[in-house]
């Protein structure tokens, strides 16, 4: 090994809520050699541009803005004297955990880490990925970019706005643009339901009289230099545009809120296996990936709706990384968790259930593939039903979770576990 490698026990990539919670938990569990790398100049991740409130209801039982929520973790990290290096971009991670980063202050730094926590968050799906036909003028932004422009730079991206996709960022930005005096003509959603949180539909669209066009999409983009309008059309059940339903909306801005993609380029370079369902790493109940000592949490693992759950999950990942480093790991049997009927992207995908101690309760998180009312979440092994709980509503816009207690885990040890949504209660 070259002598300019910097040895470190735990390296955390990203100082958003996930990275911060993981680092704080690891430090509290006794890890002293720990570095957090963050490419932005500020800690706090995407929360810094989320100046609306609604954060922290579960974790702090208070309604905080994004920056306020982040500040609590930043303060705690500071009190613990964590080594957090901002303005530092991680460029590469190898399977043997050599982490290359660069910053303006220190140039190229290569860390030789014993454990790594991936907490890089996610990015927005751009227009190109949807291949919306038409011209390619200025004025087409992802909703998050617009949010950054308005909330961080203090500039408006336009005055007459159409929003494609009803993800939460799009909904929040509909309200933000309206509050700032822009005319928001419509929020256009391909699916027959919104992928955003219900509270956002009420507070961001309905309260501002912004129409939500479900089962519609943008089929054409017009304008040579700056956007001059979009053509919107209804779609059929196959989600293909219905001829004859086209409508032209004159606008100068199109905001896209069409999905978030976990940012896993570094994970891939480290040899981490990804799940096609979540586009994040495949992990076990300790949030460990297929590469020993490499953990993942937060939006890089799977896209969350609520930061509270990001913090909770990430603290568990931080604790697990500490256990890994401090050598406390019992023997276990592995169970595989599969998506059944109606369920997508269950995390964790693997459960390593200890053999000689009582297992700790595990939460399985997943998204329903469409809206279900008065259905049951059923968890089963090939031999038996572990649980079947009724829920009023499942919607793709809200991550669902189900807890497996110690007794159920002991029953499931080493078996394949399936999570499904069923109409009837299963026995």
């Amino acid at each position: 090994m070259r002598d300019d490698r910097i040895p470190v026990d735990l390296l955390v990539v990203g100082a958003g809520p996930a990275g911060l919670a993981a680092a704080i938990a690891a430090r509290k569990a006794g890890v002293t050699s720990l570095v957090v790398l963050e490419r932005e100049d500020e800690q706090g991740g995407i929360l810094n541009q989320c100046i609306h409130n609604g954060f922290g209801l579960h974790r702090f039982r208070e309604e905080l803005t994004g920056p306020e929520y982040a500040q609590r973790d930043i303060d705690e990290a500071q009190a613990l004297e964590l080594d957090i290096r901002t303005g530092t971009t991680v460029l590469d991670i190898t399977p043997d955990k050599l982490v290359t980063a660069v910053s303006r202050e220190r140039g190229i730094q290569v860390f030789a880490a014993k454990a790594v926590i991936l907490a890089m968050g996610c990015r927005e799906r751009p227009r190109g990925a949807l291949a919306i036909p038409g011209s390619r003028p200025a004025g087409v932004f992802s909703a998050g970019t617009a949010q950054k422009l308005v909330n961080m730079a203090g500039y408006m991206p336009g005055k007459r706005v159409v929003i494609l996709g009803s993800g939460d960022i799009g909904l929040i930005m509909a309200r933000r643009m309206a509050l700032q005096g822009a005319q928001v003509l419509a929020c256009v959603e391909l699916m027959p339901y919104s992928s955003g949180l219900n509270r956002n539909i009420v507070q961001c669209l309905q309260d501002y009289d912004i129409p939500l066009l479900l089962s519609h999409t943008v089929v054409d983009i017009h304008g040579r230099e700056r956007l001059s309008g979009v053509t919107v059309a209804a779609v059929g059940e196959d989600r293909q545009p219905l001829p004859g339903t086209e409508k032209y909306l004159a606008c100068d801005t199109l905001l896209l809120s069409v999905g978030l993609i976990p940012e896993n380029e570094l994970s891939l370079s480290a040899g981490v296996q990804l799940s096609p369902a979540t586009q994040g790493p495949v992990v076990n109940n300790l949030f460990e990936t297929n590469i020993k000592g490499v953990f993942a949490c937060g939006n890089v693992l799977h896209v969350h709706d609520l930061v509270d759950y990001v913090s909770r999950e990430s603290a568990q990942a931080g604790q697990a990384a500490a256990d890994y480093l401090l050598g406390a790991r019992p023997c276990f049997l592995r169970s595989r968790v599969c998506d059944g009927q109606g369920v997508r992207g269950t995390v964790p995908q693997l459960l390593d259930i200890p053999c000689e101690q009582t297992p700790e309760t595990v939460e399985l998180m997943f998204r329903p593939d469409r809206v279900y009312q008065n259905h049951h979440v059923t968890v089963r092994t090939p031999d038996e039903v572990l649980l079947s709980q009724r829920r009023m509503i499942f919607t793709p816009g809200e991550m669902a979770e189900v807890k497996l207690g110690p007794a159920m885990l002991e029953q499931a040890r080493g078996k394949t576990i399936t999570v499904e949504i069923t109409k009837e209660k299963q026995a």
Binding site: I108, E124, A131, T145, E265
Partner: protein
């Protein structure tokens, strides 16, 4: 008064300007767009065709083969990405054998070296991801890849360093010969020159017809593409064509010099050559045809779609040289559709020399050889990166995360002789914003750097010049008049 004005800053016009940079004289390039390489030269397949395709005996065949032979040497001093990738033309049916044999013989007649017909097994061993139903292929080892806009930009830089002026954002509406000089009418005034070289791509026919008794007819033929993210290892290392059939020309699947995968293009005749839209049907068509070559293509990998227009002349060949039926001192490159990129080095050298000789311009004694483009940070190894940072700490700041472009590179792009003045300008010079997030992450930072370097406010920044404004105004500040 200029000695020579070149109309059009595409790869043709810039190759001519690059050649003329070696001569002493007052030379300018005028383009309606706000940057060089804004036309067909930024939206094409980026293939240096070996020359088996163009009909033997045509200008296209001659200039294609000549250009392709010198392209590697041409790119080297400029530091422009060039990859000798090779190509294949696939046949799926017994009928295709005759077509491929004809191409093979046409290639021989044009002087293309190394082509051979190969069978299914060899084809699949060379490119394992191809449709296994392939029957045979023409293997074309001489085919190569070049980055078309980087070539054009580098040619422009070198020309500018040697005194060629670039007058951008200035459309020539009228071309006329009066009082012994050429008069070019632009919105900003009339330019006069002893000689003009019409390299105006899709608009070259209109300008030609203003000055010549022999009319030409340019047809805009659109080509639409899908661009896919890079994969390591690459899915394909060669350009894969399909043998033309009764059903049409097929589409190609090709890596780019940066390792992305390009699918396309369509070929549709359209009315307005300035329109570079993509259409639902066009893209569908590309995908269906590309699946024949590459059944495993995944739209999840798509990062963008785009289109470019070929300037097809009704006669089907390039028209190169002094303008027939016009007063002296008029030169042109008309109908420069594919393989115009491959031919550009040859066209630039020939047309530049021709115009310079006609005016008896002497060669420069103080010619400045081109400065090669520096290696991209993303392509450097660790030691090169450390060294780059030692020289300029702005290499320590990543601006574009997808393509790992540093602040040093963005600043340099703006400071180049023909520098970037817009987001797209930075994008084509550095790749910042060309990656999978399509500038969602870096655009705000690039705007800040542009504003700093250009000495304007953020609202003054555009996507591609003109009225392509990005911001409508500040919050609590006066609105921009848009």
């Amino acid at each position: 008064m200029y000695d020579i004005v070149i109309i059009g800053a595409g790869v043709t016009g810039c190759a001519v300007a690059y050649r003329l940079g070696q001569y002493a004289g007052r030379v300018a390039v005028v383009d309606q767009a706000h940057d060089v390489s804004a036309g067909a030269s930024k939206a094409n397949s980026g293939i240096v065709h070996a020359g088996y395709d163009a009909k033997a005996g045509t200008q296209k065949a001659r200039l294609n083969v000549k250009g392709a032979l010198i392209m590697e040497e041409y790119c080297r001093p400029l530091g422009v990405p060039y990859v000798r990738s090779g190509a294949m033309v696939l046949g799926f049916h017994e009928e295709d054998r005759a077509t491929l044999e004809a191409l093979y013989h046409n290639g021989l007649a044009n002087g293309v070296k190394g082509c051979r017909l190969i069978g299914r097994e060899e084809v699949l061993s060379m490119e394992p991801r191809l449709n296994p139903q392939v029957l045979l292929a023409l293997d074309v080892p001489a085919s190569a890849l070049v980055s078309p806009y980087e070539l054009t930009l580098a040619l422009a830089d070198s020309a500018a360093e040697n005194g060629v002026q670039f007058l951008l954002g200035s459309r020539v509406t009228q071309l006329a010969y009066q009082q012994g000089a050429w008069q070019l009418t632009t919105p900003g005034g009339v330019l006069t020159a002893r000689a003009v070289i019409n390299c105006a791509g899709g608009d070259a026919g209109r300008l030609h017809n203003q000055i010549s008794t022999r009319q030409v007819h340019i047809i805009a033929r659109r080509g639409q593409y899908y661009l896919l993210d890079h994969n390591r290892p690459a899915l394909f290392t060669r350009t894969i064509f399909q043998a033309p059939t009764k059903m049409g020309k097929g589409v190609l699947v090709t890596p780019t010099t940066h390792g992305n995968l390009l699918l396309g293009p369509t070929a549709e005749d359209i009315d307005d050559g300035a329109d570079t839209i993509t259409t639902r049907d066009g893209l569908k068509n590309v995908l269906e045809k590309a699946r024949l070559t590459f059944p495993g293509v995944s739209l999840r990998q798509v990062i963008t779609t785009f289109s470019g227009n070929r300037a097809h002349e009704a006669g089907g060949d390039f028209i190169i040289g002094a303008v027939e039926g016009a007063p002296e001192g008029a030169f042109e490159a008309i109908g420069i559709e594919s393989p115009g990129l491959s031919a550009a080095p040859a066209i630039g050298d020939e047309l530049g020399d021709l115009a310079a000789l006609s005016l008896n311009l002497p060669k420069k004694t103080d010619y400045i050889a081109p400065t090669p483009l520096p290696k991209a940070f993303s392509a450097m190894d660790e030691d090169e990166r450390r060294a780059a940072y030692q020289k300029d700490p702005d290499y320590g700041r990543i601006v574009c995360r997808c393509e790992q472009v540093t602040e040093a590179e963005v600043r340099r792009a703006i400071r180049r002789p023909v520098g970037a003045t817009s987001l797209d300008g930075v994008k084509f010079r550095t790749r910042a914003g060309m990656g999978r997030c399509q500038s969602g992450f870096c655009s705000t930072r690039v705007m800040e750097i542009l504003a700093e370097e250009l000495g304007c406010g953020l609202p003054g920044i555009t996507k591609s010049g003109g009225k392509s404004w990005v911001l409508s105004g500040g919050i609590g500040k006066a609105d921009q008049d848009a």
